[in-house]
Symmetry: C2
Subunit: 189 residues, 2 copies
């Protein structure tokens, strides 16, 4: 799919603010893909569509998670997680994207998962550091992203978990499995 | 078992420093048991024996975890976790303690687990706040322990996870599950 066609489809689904965020993720994902050798075209499309389901009604997302066999424990955790798997389903069925790598990068862009693919890492991180993001620690992760993809990812997940701990919120198990997986397999070159 | 007999058995297993820690855990566990209505005698015995296996060789603990069917994923995480399940086994087989509640309080005193019993919470927390403990945040947990057992537990686990995150260490999944379980079921009265 061409960029302009993809952007047109996504723009209808998002607020203007979220659309601007999406453009930031797209540019950042393309940069990261070039830097780390991921498929640049797939990174572009996955980034454009990553928040496709962001503003769907919760009940629709809940239904998709149940009917499509996504892990049901998602429903016990923060609803902010739901748009990622629901998005992967809707991007396939409504926008006609069938590439598994792209769909999985969308599916796991919020929770992460152990053994993430390069494309999944690129989208996860681009979502975290795109230029519109402003929160404590983001500049440190931006810097790390220029040096080592996994180290940047570890730091972003550490920040996210620490943030949830401080707010007394639950942490989706897949996220800390992702953290443990990255830490176990880290290589500082 | 009488306190003096239990202490005698444990003293042989520990360094003097760890024995003093054990006495602190014992006093604290008795206080917490009285405050929150746990069995005081069981709290005393569980506290005395909680670190029974602390100085056993790693290879012995590894063997116990495998042969006794404890979760093997323990072996992939910090060896500091091993003395708790290994201790539960050795306290039963060497010291003749057969009470399941006491043995489970020993088994889960380092990792925690979802749906901890009252006695398990008392031992976990006593181990964290006994008077010999000095580290950032312990006084806040001591204060909370006078008001609400679960809130004190949540704070202690938050501190532990945050500490491991800062050190770039893996976090045993059961500890995260314990945190999520406590947060989901919290009631601020």
């Amino acid at each position: 799919m061409e960029r302009e066609d993809a952007l047109k489809l996504v723009k209808e689904q998002l607020t203007e603010h979220r659309y601007q965020h999406t453009l930031g993720v797209m540019e950042t994902a393309i940069d990261l893909a070039k830097r780390y050798g991921a498929d640049v075209k797939k990174a572009e499309i996955a980034a454009i569509f990553h928040d496709y389901a962001k503003f769907r009604p919760k009940e629709e997302m809940r239904k998709i998670i149940i009917e499509q066999g996504f892990p049901k424990d998602l429903l016990e955790f923060n609803a902010e997680l739901w748009h990622a798997p629901a998005g992967a389903f809707l991007v396939e069925t409504e926008a006609g994207i069938t590439d598994r790598e792209i769909l999985e990068a969308i599916r796991y862009h919020t929770s992460g998962r152990p053994s993430m693919s390069l494309l999944e890492k690129v989208i996860y991180l681009a979502d975290y550091i795109e230029p519109g993001r402003h929160f404590p620690g983001v500049d440190e992760v931006r810097q790390l992203a220029k040096e080592n993809l996994d180290e940047a990812l570890i730091k972003s997940i550490q920040n996210s978990i620490a943030f949830l701990l401080k707010k007394n919120q639950t942490i989706y198990p897949e996220t800390f499995h992702t953290y443990n997986d990255l830490v176990k397999n880290r290589r500082i070159d």
